[in-house]
């Protein structure tokens, strides 16, 4: 059984149907990527999975538990974290306060401290700037903070929405290295990206989304060599 199973998902914004019956799954240990153009519905799908948006049809199952109707704040403690599009760090709070909010659902102080240590090891910049207000960080640093904050809940599955958006090439490289590291440490990753080349290079499998429908799916290295994917998403 897959870790995350999305079946026939439909999501509406008012009368507009943004997601038109999408099914996909993520297995434990995988990096699965969801690629698609602007407005395809990637963010909408992630919001539906993590409980921020109501679903009009279909079901979502996480580790065997039906979470279709579970509100977002209860999903975190089941072991799913979400790094939202545009980072959404708490700009007026310090880096450390942001990280602590990431562990809001955890009660064991000791375990929390050790997770914090691990995060500081992966993101030394965050430790250097722990007392700085998050709003004053650079875009790349904010992305690291958003990832660190999600990891503070010690998730089994992490959803990431365009982590490379708006970053310089060096930062993009660094962010993707960190995603690889997160994956190698045992966290399952569902990655939404417009940078399809990068995303496919680190993913095991991928789904291609077009205006609310999945049009292609398969092994990442197969999709990378698919003519239509090359043309539409890899700019070749």
């Amino acid at each position: 059984m897959a870790m995350l199973e999305v079946k026939d998902l439909e999501v509406h914004y008012g009368v507009i149907k943004a997601i038109k019956g999408v099914s996909f799954e993520v297995n434990e240990g995988e990096v699965v990527s969801l690629i698609g153009a602007n407005g395809a519905g990637k963010t909408t799908i992630l919001h539906a999975v993590s409980g921020l948006l109501p679903k009009s049809k279909g079901s979502i199952t996480f580790e065997g538990t039906d979470i279709t109707k579970v509100p977002a704040h209860k999903i975190v403690s089941l072991g799913m974290a979400h790094v939202p599009e545009g980072r959404r760090v708490f700009a007026q709070l310090s880096v450390l306060e942001n990280l602590k909010l990431g562990a809001y659902t955890r009660n064991d102080k000791k375990e929390m401290e050790s997770t914090l240590k691990m995060i500081y090891e992966s993101f030394p910049r965050l430790e250097e700037r722990k007392n700085q207000t998050a709003g004053t960080l650079s875009g790349g640093e904010q992305q690291m903070l958003a990832m660190g904050r999600a990891l503070m809940s010690h998730p089994k599955l992490i959803l990431m929405d365009e982590p490379s958006m708006g970053l310089s090439p060096i930062f993009v490289e660094e962010i993707f290295n960190i995603i690889k590291k997160i994956s190698s440490q045992g966290t399952t990753v569902l990655l939404v990206e417009q940078n399809a080349k990068k995303a496919l290079s680190i993913a095991d499998r991928a789904y291609v989304l077009e205006t609310g429908n999945i049009t292609l799916s398969g092994d990442a290295n197969v999709l990378m060599n698919d003519e239509s994917v090359k043309k539409a998403y890899l700019g070749e």
Partner: protein
């Protein structure tokens, strides 16, 4: 009366405004709405104390505690029944609802207690302090009011800085969806904010009615508006702003009454607000954050 007396009385009135303004500013910061019924919760608190002390003859401290509990519950119920269903509505619809709730509370009080002013027995029983050979007198009410305001300010700041629930409030005030993603129950946090704000309104009611001992269904209305002005003056959404705005407003009002004209005092207060907002649209301590991409 000397200047110092006016100043101290202004400080005391300002402390009451500050306590009320805290409720306004916290609710605005977290629910992004102006709760115009906030002032009327003060009046309800006053009537609860009045009824308990005159009817049941309980001791004042107990009456105040019961009033705090009653107002806390009232605040949470108002939020659940009147505002929560409008979470996704336009700000104007919410504002009109809040004004409706304000009239509702006033009219219910009118039905129960009538429109004639009740004489409120002070809940404070402390000897006045007399300084400078009796030139300056600080009443028990004034002492308690200033002390209460300082304690509330410190306690609230610590609560927000040091507790998980306080940090959750800050997170919700910045970004509700991101807060949900942290596992924070946003609705619960909004309820908690209304509970704290309304509990503080009850404290303000007890202090206000003790210092100015007439109680009518409209008692909360003017202090409510003044406290709202204080919150905007200090920077709406900012807790230290509410504190400073409240204190300054009380002092300006009292000094205007003493040295300029008691009829003009309110006009002066509002003029100061307008001038401050012209110079600094976000209020004294209000900040605008520009987010980086």
């Amino acid at each position: 009366m000397s200047f110092w007396n006016y100043l101290i009385n202004g400080l005391s009135l300002g402390s009451v405004y500050a306590i009320i303004a805290l409720g306004y500013t916290m609710v605005y910061g977290i629910a992004k709405m102006l709760n115009f019924a906030h002032g009327d919760v003060i009046m309800v608190g006053g009537f609860v104390i009045y009824t308990i002390m005159n009817g049941a003859g309980l001791n004042p401290l107990l009456a105040v505690l019961i009033s705090i509990v009653a107002c806390t519950v009232l605040g949470v119920v108002i939020e659940k029944v009147a505002y929560k269903p409008l979470r996704k509505a336009t700000p104007l619809a919410v504002l009109i609802t809040a004004i409706g709730v304000s009239y509702l509370l006033q009219n219910v009080a009118l039905l129960i207690f009538g429109s004639d002013a009740k004489l409120f027995t002070s809940v404070v029983n402390m000897t006045p302090i007399s300084l400078a050979d009796g030139q300056i007198v600080i009443t028990g009410e004034t002492q308690i009011t200033i002390i209460a305001c300082i304690i509330i300010m410190i306690a609230l700041s610590l609560f927000i800085k040091k507790t998980k629930a306080g940090q959750a409030m800050l997170a919700v005030s910045e970004d509700k969806d991101a807060a949900e993603l942290m596992g924070i129950n946003v609705n619960g946090t909004i309820s908690l904010t209304f509970a704290i704000g309304s509990g503080l309104a009850a404290v303000a009611g007890a202090l206000l009615c003790s210092a100015y001992p007439t109680l009518t269904p409209y008692t909360g209305s003017m202090p409510g508006i003044k406290a709202f002005v204080a919150a905007v003056f200090g920077g709406i959404g900012s807790i230290p702003g509410a504190f400073i705005g409240g204190i300054l407003l009380g002092i300006i009002e009292n000094l205007s009454k003493a040295y300029i004209s008691s009829q003009m005092a309110d006009a002066i207060v509002f003029s100061v607000l307008i001038i401050v907002l012209l110079v600094k649209p976000t209020g004294l301590l209000g900040k605008k954050y520009s987010e980086k991409v």
